[in-house]
């Protein structure tokens, strides 16, 4: 009986894993392509409009997946930068899903053999990719990390959102919206997750340092559950009748807060600032309940990544190993600006 039970359990788990992976695998089948050495090729862009004599710089852009809109945005930005620089060729590679860590490791190993001049990498796993990156460095290939780094600083540079800074930007916007004084509450998305901690620290430090007349009345953690966020926000509104603003530290928190503020009919008196971007956040901005949100910049990761690799190849080491790609504050005021629209729809 026990045996049967354990076999059944194993079957269920495997089945659920297969189900979980199946769909996505199919979707990015194009990414697996010729499976020789696990390499997958998305597309290659060459541009030789620059000095014809100079050698083309071949850069591999290795992302966690190939097909997702996010990574396509990174790729587009990298290709644009390549075009701008001239003699740079970008090849976009990546495993079929983020979970295929082994595939990504193989891809990096193949890149080393294929004589790429530089690698831009978003690591699927912070530990598993340390060795491949080290090997690439030993082979003399510069490696620039984007979005997700690795546990040992063997790379040349790491481009990602500095969440402390981003949290501070949200605080500045909030302060501006509520006129520099009053009570503000925070709905954070998780307790104890580094990203969440960084954002909250950035926000609270900025308020404490520069806005003496703003009081942060409390922090609640909604586990990225908008319904929980809505309940917590409603309770904040009941507990603090003079509350002037609520910050939701990720997209789910923000849409929950927006929902609560709408239900309580307080969208004019309570300012909602969010973080990240999604269809629901966009509707919130459009309807004016969400007054602003911090949008991360995959485009900067793509273009700056290329720039740094090219600089290193030309003998110019990056000034800082860790580079903050920053956030753009999209607000109800600026959201119709074509530039901001491009960021919102990136």
């Amino acid at each position: 009986m026990k045996k049967v039970l354990s076999i059944l359990l194993a079957c269920i788990l495997i089945a659920s894993m297969l189900v979980g992976c199946g769909g996505k695998g199919k979707e990015s089948e194009t990414g697996t392509g010729a499976d020789k050495g696990g390499t997958s090729s998305g597309s290659t862009t060459t541009d030789n409009t620059g000095g014809g004599a100079s050698k083309t710089i071949k850069i591999a852009l290795v992302t966690k997946m190939v097909d997702s809109p996010y990574w396509q945005t990174v790729k587009r930005a990298a290709e644009e930068k390549a075009k701008e620089l001239g003699n740079v060729e970008i090849t976009h590679l990546g495993p079929p899903t983020e979970a295929d860590i082994d595939k990504q490791v193989q891809i990096i190993e193949t890149c080393i053999n294929d004589d790429y001049d530089g690698i831009i990498l978003a690591a699927c796993d912070k530990d598993a990719l340390v060795d491949p990156v080290r090997k690439a460095k030993e082979a003399g290939i510069p490696v620039v990390m984007i979005d997700s780094g690795i546990s040992e600083p063997v790379y040349d540079a790491f481009l990602a959102t500095n969440n402390v800074q981003a949290g501070a930007e949200c605080a500045k916007l909030m302060a501006e919206l509520i006129g520099g004084e009053g009570q503000v509450a925070i709905i954070n998305f998780a307790a104890g997750t580094q990203t969440a901690v960084d954002r909250e620290t950035g926000f609270t430090e900025e308020i404490k340092k520069n806005y003496k007349n703003i009081e942060i009345v409390g922090v609640q953690y909604c586990n990225s559950d908008p319904t929980v966020a809505a309940n917590q926000a409603t309770d904040f509104i009941s507990a603090y009748p003079n509350l002037k603003g609520i910050w939701g530290a990720n997209d789910q928190s923000a849409i929950g807060v927006a929902q609560a503020v709408t239900e309580q009919g307080k969208s004019d008196s309570i300012m909602v600032v969010g973080f990240d971007n999604s269809d629901d956040i966009k509707s919130g901005l459009k309807s004016g309940v969400i007054k602003g949100t911090a949008v991360q910049m995959p485009t900067v990761m793509g273009s700056e990544g290329v720039q740094i690799v090219v600089d290193i190849i030309n003998g110019k080491a990056p000034a800082n190993k860790d580079v903050d790609t920053g956030v753009t504050m999209v607000t109800t005021e600026n959201m119709n600006d074509p530039k901001i629209q491009a960021i919102l729809n990136q």
Binding site: S16, G20, A191, P226, K282
Partner: protein
Amino acid sequence: MSGELVTSTKKAKVNIMKGKDEALQKFLAFGVLIMLCILFGVLTGGSFLKIDNLLTIALQVTPYAILGFGLTFVLITGGTDLSAGSVIGFGGIVCAKAVTMGVSIPVAIIIGILAGIIAGLINGLFVTKLEVTPFIATLGTQFAFRGLTQLVGQGKPVSIQALGDEKIISVFRFIGGGTVFGRIPFPTIIMIITAIVLGIVLSKTGFGRRLYAVGSNEETARLSGINVIKTKLTAYIICGATASMAGILLAARLASAQSNAGQGYELEGIAAAVIGGTSVMGGEGGILGTVIGAFVMGVLRNGLNLLKVDAFVQMVIIGTIIVIGVWYDTARRKKQSV
């Protein structure tokens, strides 16, 4: 013949005793609820007892309570359903997906509830036909249904808001958070209707009695001719249906179905049922108790929020209350068996 009579009178006696004890637990839970309300009312200087705040609590507890009803059925059979939280996400996202694909709202809601019923049926089949321990079976399906939810949403929320159709959005917003008769939240009305229907099913029908019999002693129930498999299967199906109902209400309130909706809610639902006197060992419980239990949890959360208690301290307090509830249940059973 006479033997049958004897067992049935014995059973009746036990039932009466149980009924008394259950009523005591329900009464106790209700007493705790009233005490909490008075306590918070005093401590917050009356703002807790404002009608608006009480209605807010009613809206906040609604999804947990509805989920708790289904879990009450499963718990009475002596089982459990750890996948209920995932079914919340699944029902909600299937319904929202149907709407974004152009299906009319009532049909989409039915599809969503059907998704929950199928999920419940799968759980029930694992538990009854394949005889997998409910804890393990539903732990497995918890992953599987969450995976299916993520698949439907492609890892992202399915946004009804993004459709941009004001009519559909306003209908959903009404279902999930609108008010009727002045200020009463519509989902709470649904919760009350569901409670009445399921309460009657549980206490007044043959199915309800069979459910208690199966939960008290499966073997005896089998020997007295009860179709144990069918009874249990129905309990899991009801649980799936209530979970997907809760999921649709959650998705409707936000006009957006989150692929992670309902994560961990099964434990809230179980806690609500247990605080309200449903035994995790099976054979005992009721819908009214679960309503009270859900309100105890909701009142605690809301009251502690109004009192500006730190988020982490709140977790400790709520966790402790749940343990006390279960401890009381166990202690009572021990006394009973002596």
